[in-house]
Symmetry: C2
DNA sequence: CGACATTCTTACTCTAGAGTAAGATCAACC
DNA sequence: GGTTGATCTTACTCTAGAGTAAGAATGTCG
């Protein structure tokens, strides 16, 4: 009402609201964020949030859904089957870390917030499990001697866990994407103490 | 009032309260846990919680402090300097995973809850950083050719991240401590695809 | 223009749950 | 037995913040 903000079609406002919500949620966490704060950040009034999203939980769910979508898209190149498995793994790493680097708020909302709230954890674990399964497949199909008793599933869990930890450092600006990808790639193939590529 | 519960000295009651608090916090999370719920679980009345701990946040802080203490103690054997670095790493892994296996609620409170709440994250990150630094030292001192440009710090971050992810599976009963330790030890030295010990 | 739908706001209601006031009950010691 | 100081409870207060009622402003299409 104050100055420039005009009336906008629903679809546009919805995205504005999500932008604001992701921003505030990522900064303060789900519980310490009030709907008033989101409304203020989006520069609209609170009832609009309820009109378009129904409740705080649904709004947060919508955040997860959109950011999760974008996250999965960033992993798209890794499923290009014309690449070798190893190249695919590299593509997945770069896609993953690049996403985190370019979307720190999304990363915060998706992982550091959602995983903590048992009400949303299942929703995130879905995308996460997809990543783990993809990793497991890539590890398996790029290993020559299957070594009986090798559980690629748990290996993928470990590698993704390592990836998430490193991603936090990427998000913190302490290390660049390429360096981080190198590290993780080496980790997968040779172990931490192994020679550099 | 009801039946058996007698009057108890403060020190004892405090531990009972912490036991109950850790239990409920780990199950429902910080925000979805009410002081009434904790009081009920501890079988005392709410004002006792406030009398002994002051506030909900301080109570949670006390939980973190006690469990974090226990966690660090579980890592004690890893600092035995009569062992080789590699044996120390193994001891750290077993200590860490064993702790998680035997104290699932503690693990939940310490990691899955605290790390999500930015109000407590710093407190936990202290213990966590100690673990990372310990790991970094162990990796460094057990590597022959330092390979210029090798950043043991970030390697330790990756390895600890992998450890946490695997620890979740241990807590979930999907894998046993020994198997998990083997996996992580191998990961550190040979990479996921490497031969088994 | 006038009717209808959509966008949007001010100004509330209502409840969960953090925190407290006031004092009862018990144990121990003189 | 009475005094002192813990332990412990019932029964509140008070507020942040989720969610809503009622309707004003703006567009658009006949």
């Amino acid at each position: 009402m104050a100055g420039g903000t005009k009336r906008l079609p629903r679809a546009v406002r919805e995205q504005q609201m999500l932008d604001a919500a992701v921003e505030v949620f990522s900064a303060k966490g789900f519980h310490d964020t009030s709907m008033d704060a989101i409304a203020a950040a989006a520069e609209i009034s609170k009832p609009m949030l309820y009109l378009y999203y129904g409740s705080k939980e649904e709004l947060f769910t919508a955040c997860i859904a959109r950011e999760g979508q974008r996250f999965v898209e960033a992993l798209g190149p890794a499923t290009d089957s014309t690449l070798t498995p190893r190249e695919q793994l590299r593509a997945a790493l770069v896609g993953f870390l690049g996403f985190v680097d370019g979307h720190r708020s999304s990363w915060m909302v998706l992982y550091r917030q959602s995983m903590g709230e048992q009400a949303f954890a299942s929703q995130v674990r879905t995308s996460r499990d997809r990543l783990i399964e993809l990793t497991a497949k890539l590890l398996e199909s790029s290993t020559r001697e299957p070594e009986p008793g090798t559980d690629f599933g748990i290996m993928a869990v470990a590698l993704v866990g390592a990836g998430e930890a490193v991603a936090d450092r990427v998000a913190g600006g302490e290390i660049e994407v390429e360096k981080a990808a190198d590290l993780l790639e080496n980790l997968a193939w040779r172990g931490l103490a192994g020679k550099k590529k």
